[in-house]
Symmetry: C2
Subunit: 316 residues, 2 copies
């Protein structure tokens, strides 16, 4: 099977068609259109076997995670997803693997009406690089740099679940496909609708890919402010607490990565607007702290400050 056949058979058809795609897969490039007043939002995430997922992970899950990581970045910008390119590096072209990969990719693309407009299929160690594009009305994107002292800090979902599953893989423990923590790692649910709904409400937003502590600290630093957050307010899933124990569950909630939840700030006067919005969300939404003027992110428990979480394992 040459590269052309791989593209034709698995990636040229079956993905959502869109009126704003003038020319999709198959030429030197894709042609797409924006409407007047729209800004383009471009995000890109690369996932490498062994670094970001175990090579044995089901092909459909690898595809889902790679696209979900990008959709989560679009969500954190408040953007509506439109198109994506796929660069797939594979040691060899196995038909069953490719079919499962393409099916996983299509399933998530279908959910968000995302057209596959191009990319590249190359021989190499297994890696998936996706660049996704979406749009926002000019000037309305959620950025990292808008948080202000006094704002409330919120997080969606239950961070730490994916980190537990990744640790289990790293330790060589098998995970059953119906394990809820495996599901959270393998099939994260990007908060696209939630991110879009936060435009005009949130002052700043980021998605959780490197862990709540690291990512929230980035948002605060980009905004030139600091934060105080309550460790015990951070929501943990029952499954995580049961498997990891209370102490480790808390650590994972603060430092585990790959959750693809949203963390954002809102002014105090938008709390009721947010509560009204979130009533219909499928995920939990929890206030975990406040933005303060003094730089740095400090965690508290029962009024006492705690040491900064250890995130040294995240080094390149």
């Amino acid at each position: 099977m040459d590269e052309f056949e791989v593209i034709q058979r698995y990636f040229a058809t079956g993905f959502p068609a869109r009126d704003d795609v003038v020319l999709g897969v198959g030429d030197d490039g894709a042609l797409t259109r924006l409407a007047p007043g729209e800004e383009l939002v471009t995000v890109s995430d690369a996932l490498v076997a062994g670094t970001h997922f175990p090579a044995q992970l089901a092909a459909g899950a690898i595809a889902h995670r790679a696209l979900a990581a990008n959709l989560s970045d679009l969500a954190a910008m408040g953007a509506g997803p439109r198109w994506f390119t796929l660069a797939l590096a594979l040691p060899e072209a196995k038909e069953a693997w490719l079919a499962a990969f393409a099916a996983g990719l299509r399933r998530l693309a279908d959910r968000f009406g995302l057209a596959l407009i191009g990319g590249d299929t190359v021989r190499g160690p297994l890696a998936v690089t996706i660049t996704a594009m979406g749009t926002v009305a000019a000037g309305t994107a959620l950025r990292r740099d808008g948080a202000r002292s006094g704002d409330r800090i919120f997080v969606t979902g239950t961070p730490g679940d994916a980190g537990w599953a990744w640790q289990a893989f790293a330790d060589g423990r098998g995970l059953s496909a119906d394990d809820p923590l495996y599901q959270r790692f393998a099939f994260p649910d990007p908060r696209v609708a939630e991110g879009a709904a936060l435009r005009g409400i949130a002052t700043a937003a980021i998605d959780l890919s490197d862990g709540l502590h690291v990512d929230l600290a980035r948002l605060l630093a980009a905004s030139g402010v600091g934060g105080e957050a309550d460790v015990d307010a951070v929501p943990r899933s029952a499954a995580l607490t049961e498997r990891a124990g209370e102490t480790r569950a808390t650590e994972l909630a603060l430092t585990g990565g790959d959750d693809y939840e949203l963390c954002f700030t809102i002014p105090a006067e938008k709390e009721s607007a947010l509560a009204a919005l979130a009533a219909s969300w499928p995920c939990r939404l929890t206030q975990i702290g406040r933005v303060v003027a003094e730089p740095g992110l400090r965690w508290r428990r029962n009024g006492e400050y705690l040491p900064t979480p250890d995130v040294s394992f995240r080094h390149f």
Copy 2:
């Protein structure tokens, strides 16, 4: 050095700034603007060490080739380059290598005013995936599917040079940095201005990444036509003929990849307009054949048909 430091130190600054970039590297995504009446052109190429270049290739050359491959795709669409994302997978973060890589990338980006707007830096086997974006006035992009029977087929430059260098690497022969064939492989010159100038003149265009025979056959197939081309008309560099000999030089000109030249078709009545344009081009421009109604690409020499070139090594 963590990922954040790598981005800050090597990729966050020093690349062209553009007024159409609202928000660049450092948030979850980039924000960019199009003008009314423009269409977005998106291209993507992944280069993996061992498959597309030897891992020992100079870091600046790896960066140049990866960006040039994408610029060549934009050229083949007739697009003006604007922005790109970079996904860089590296086994380890070596400062000297990263500095040389970033410098090579900046040099080529500067030449075309291309802003680096985002991407990802991950640990993994050396691979570079770039997604580049450009624009064209709506409806003016060069596509593969517009060639018509009677059109003339042209090619820029001297195909085969890069293929010879790649073969030399594959055979373990060292190449000196001032070898002109090494230069053609390591620092290809994407035909961006030439591609843009062909809008309104060329009926179809493609860039040569997989070899003249394969790429021209693709253009003809996409257009629903065929072609007859003269093997002896295909331009070969003096350096290639001298090193490879006449027979092998011809084979490489037809089947070698990675040249990043343009191959395109024009109606007969545009020949003088093309000649006027090409007078100022820095590269050769050669008519190699004609488009015919009967599907398939046939090569001739002295009026005799030749067997189809062997391109079996291109299989995935």
